[in-house]
């Protein structure tokens, strides 16, 4: 089964779970006076779950023929691309998300930019370090001072 039909299967499952919540479990907690309303919080989701299920079934059963176009990247040969780099960068983003608050903006951003270009194969430290550090500082200055959105600059234990 091709990837698009697997995805349709997953989405059909999501629609089923969503529809189950909308049709059977949601209305239980509705206040009695709201039940007189012609529209309930579950009305619109009910409609959506039915249409979504129909659309995913059309894809799953292959009812609609579509001419296969040449994709940018063939997922069947994913191993031949720079998959490792992509996964490393994704892991780096997760680490950034987790570290932004405790480690402070300046440190985590500089580390993110340096490690990001390092993972991509950059080894010219003389260029990489100043670019990353200056960019970090400029963005921090713009966001914090010009736009006035607070970003904790330094790690918590230094008192940032």
């Amino acid at each position: 089964m091709a990837l698009d039909r697997w995805i349709a299967l997953i989405l059909a499952g999501i629609c089923l779970a969503y529809g189950y919540t909308a049709w059977f479990t949601m209305d239980g907690s509705l206040a009695p006076f709201m039940k007189r309303n012609p529209i309930w919080p579950s009305t619109f989701p009910k409609v959506l779950s039915v249409i979504g299920l129909l659309a995913s079934l059309v894809i799953l059963l292959g009812l609609e023929k579509s001419e296969s176009s040449e994709p940018d990247i063939d997922y069947r040969r994913l191993g031949q691309y720079n998959l490792g780099q992509a996964l490393l960068l994704l892991a780096l983003m997760v680490a950034y998300a987790l570290g932004l608050r405790p480690l402070g903006f300046l440190f985590s951003t500089a580390a993110f930019l340096i490690l990001g270009s390092f993972f991509l194969g950059e080894r010219r430290w003389v260029v990489m370090l100043p670019v990353s550090l200056i960019a970090t500082f400029i963005v921090w200055y713009l966001v914090q001072q010009v736009l006035g959105i607070y970003l904790r600059p330094l790690p918590g234990f230094i008192g940032g």
Partner: protein, 504 residues
């Protein structure tokens, strides 16, 4: 009207207000270029500045300038990086980005600038002429019609998004609508589908989703499959000029889309986003067979259409704001808030009570468009320099800006994890050739769609509004046809290809 024009000119041409227009356009362009910071967030950020000036005309002029600049900057990043920070410029990347990939980035930016200028200026003329008349037409629309109109918009997007894959586009739209129902709706004050997670209480962030759907997969694709051709072509954005032939090709597109975009922009709920997608779809459908092949691969018509339409629609969205006091889009809703803070109540009386505000805004639209054209066209080679940044630096910076955009909007680190998770899902969807734009549009319109649906259900005490209001019924029938027709036509084409050729 002539008197009003003169009052407007007098106000708009004061030294302070000209500075406001230029400053607003520049700020808007630069921030709007960063993927993820759309006009809504920029205007929200600029509101304290505008309010502290104390002069309503100057404030509105500044904010309108920022709005235009942000839309223009957004199309620049759509074309160069395929990272639209604004939903309204998503359609510009369909053809703008392929053009940039072919080394025609300079030409694409010129076309975008000219189309934006024409769309905005023609829109401003229309606003001047039609504002009073259109407000009375828009008054006839009830929530039932708004609901039906949004359904038409969504099904048009689904129907035109992909070639022969209407079901995929439809499914993506539904997924977007489903995601919009997560969190607390304005109508019910009940959290829905949050699975008990506090961070989902307010729903998914629009910016997060936009980043995850467009910028992140694009960056990942760049990592997975480095473009070797990029290095030789970048840096020489020489071909800024468009030929006479190309100008002739896009002129009718600009004319049609200025009108269509403007009128779509006037309708609340159907703003720049719908206008640009619909404009793209319409131009694609009425183009000749050979030109249709070009669409999606770097067609100049396919770029000019959404660019014209979204700027015209931005202008059009001022009509309900200035004449009825009803914001037609998220951006004009923020503008409405700013005006009320400045002690101005937009509405039918605005034109009578404070004509200088109304006309100054219109005049500043002309000036703003001129500033964008005059300032940005010469700056295009420098703006396009973004392309010549080495990949090793560009990718971490794109990733960083997607993270920042999501973080600034919500100030919440959980949003960043959501961003990564959605980004991975979106990449998988792109592998499987699912169109992602319908998902985002469904998500944006989901809330308004449900609100209007709920309101008409309440007014008519049930589903009766569909057949009791002929206009609603008609619009819904059109929506149904839009979804069914493409597959019907594809089936007929297939049958024809199998058997003997038909007469036509």
């Amino acid at each position: 009207m002539l008197e009003g024009l003169l009052i407007g000119l007098q106000t708009a041409l004061s030294f302070q207000n000209i500075l406001m227009v230029i400053g607003g356009c520049l700020i808007g362009t630069f921030i709007g270029m960063l993927p993820g910071l759309g006009p809504m967030s920029i205007i929200a950020i600029m509101i304290p500045v505008a309010i502290s000036m104390g002069d309503p005309s100057a404030a509105l002029i500044l904010l309108a300038g920022v709005y235009y600049g942000a839309i223009f900057g957004g199309s620049t990043s759509s074309i160069l990086l395929n990272a639209p920070g604004v939903a309204g410029t998503v359609a510009s990347s369909f053809d703008g980005y392929p053009m940039a990939k072919q080394g025609k980035a300079g030409k694409a930016l010129t076309i975008a600038a000219i189309a934006s200028f024409a769309g905005g200026s023609i829109g401003a003329i229309l606003l001047m002429v039609f504002a009073p008349a259109l407000s009375s037409v828009a008054l006839l629309f009830h929530s039932a019609e708004y609901f039906a109109l949004m359904v038409v918009g969504l099904s048009a997007i689904a129907a035109f998004a992909g070639t022969g894959q209407v079901a995929k586009a439809l499914l993506m739209t539904i997924v977007g609508l489903i995601m919009a129902t997560v969190g607390e709706g304005a109508l019910f004050n009940l959290p829905r589908f949050t699975m008990g997670i506090m961070d989902l209480q307010s729903g998914f962030g629009f910016i997060t989703l936009a980043m995850a759907m467009f910028a992140l997969p694009e960056a990942l694709f760049l990592v997975l499959k480095p473009r070797t051709t990029r290095d030789d072509e970048s840096g020489k954005i020489t071909d800024l000029r468009i030929t006479r032939q190309e100008a002739r090709a896009i002129a009718p597109v600009i004319g049609r889309q200025s009108l269509q975009g403007f009128f779509i922009g006037v309708l609340p709920g159907a703003g720049a986003t719908i206008a640009s997608f619909l404009g793209y779809a319409v131009e694609r459908n009425i183009a000749t067979k050979e030109e249709q092949e070009e669409f999606g691969k770097g067609s100049i018509k396919g770029l000019a259409a959404p660019e014209t339409a979204n700027n015209a629609a931005c202008t059009g969205s001022f009509v309900p704001l200035l004449t009825l006091g009803i914001p037609g889009s998220g951006t004009t809703a923020i503008l409405l808030g700013a005006l009320i803070a400045l002690n101005v109540t937009p509405g039918p009386r605005l034109m009578l009570d404070e004509p200088q505000i109304f006309w100054a805004v219109i005049m500043s639209m002309f000036i703003g468009n001129l500033v964008l054209l005059v300032l940005n066209l010469p700056l295009i080679p420098y703006i396009a320099k973004v392309l010549s940044i080495p990949r090793n630096y560009l990718i971490p910076f794109i990733l960083f800006f997607t993270l920042m955009g999501a973080y600034i909007g919500q100030n919440n680190a959980t949003e960043l994890l959501l961003l990564v998770a959605f980004g991975i899902c979106a990449t998988a969807l792109r592998f499987a050739d699912y169109p992602l734009a319908p998902l985002l549009i469904g998500f944006i319109l989901g809330g308004m769609l449900e609100d209007n649906f709920a309101r008409s259900m309440q007014l008519y005490d049930g589903i009766g509004f569909i057949w009791e209001r002929p206009m609603t019924l008609g619009l819904l029938v059109i929506a149904g046809l839009l979804v069914v027709l493409p597959s019907y036509r594809a089936r007929r084409a297939r049958l024809r290809a199998q058997g003997v050729a038909d007469g036509d």
